[in-house]
Symmetry: C2
């Protein structure tokens, strides 16, 4: 059974939706995808670092559309491991696991990795939105399209949404 | 540079010292190592599960004698990664990282893995007190002696304390 690593933020958790909301609340300005495309989150949203460091940010993120049913199917065909570079934000760790248990209750605690370097983990496939994680991964890579990576020319296969992941892997 | 995985509980964190204290507080009975040797923690301390699930348990654990200076030295010679099966206790995750930052400030967030299965991680050496982790590891293994593993006959090299780890690895 092949092992697939699935990133959380920007793949399972819809971080941008929440950043758009917070930006609107704080500044009154309604941004759209074109306004932030091609920029890192911290470039697109000046207060991003403050928001993601605050308690509760990750606990309240919406789920990426279509992800729950597809991860459930992947979980039958692959050894699914959910992975997050969460040690960069220690206050987020417990929140992130409770969020996973709430939305993906079929993922057990044995299938979760919170770390600071995804290249430490042995797997066959990695689904991630960040080139820094994909570029150093030795197996098959799928770049999940998010505004920050929209204009990147990349050697990784791209999935624009969870329908495309299903077509690729199921 | 070889990569060495170092377990937290029972290797860096002196869990038994705290369990002895809590047992004394709750029952009035002062246990010694002979009373608990050869038993799993949950067998030796009937309230162990309740204690380890409670907030703050891991944040207050004493540091294993001699570990700080030896991990500092290992950190110069090896790629040190601190690992803990912490997703079994989600409430512990943030506590565990803050504990590490307090006592081992030279370990960065990039060198930490909290997971539910240590066999997912690529490394050359594993120092751990639990046979369940050591037995499935493909590299060099060192069993850190703790009361629960004291009478086990094992193929793993044993270290009774951090002086012995230093002689083996430094």
């Amino acid at each position: 059974m092949k092992r697939i690593l699935i990133d959380m933020d920007g793949v399972l958790a819809d971080v941008y939706s929440r950043l758009f909301e917070l930006h609107k609340e704080v500044t009154g300005e309604l941004l759209c995808q074109d306004d932030v495309a091609g920029k890192l989150e911290e470039e697109a949203f000046p207060l991003q670092r403050q928001w993601v460091m605050s308690a509760g940010f990750f606990r309240s993120l919406p789920v990426m559309p279509g992800s729950i049913e597809r991860v459930r199917k992947l979980n039958e065909k692959y050894h699914v491991v959910i992975i997050s570079l969460a040690t960069e934000f220690p206050a987020s760790l417990t929140d992130k696991q409770y969020w996973l248990h709430e939305h993906f209750p079929f993922i057990t605690w044995r299938q979760i990795v919170f770390c600071g370097d995804k290249s430490l983990v042995k797997a066959d496939i990695l689904v991630d939105d960040h080139p820094k994680n994909l570029d150093t991964f030795e197996g098959e890579t799928i770049m999940f399209t998010q505004p920050h990576n929209l204009y990147l020319t990349t050697r990784h296969r791209r999935a624009g949404n969870w329908d495309e992941i299903e077509r690729m892997l199921l």
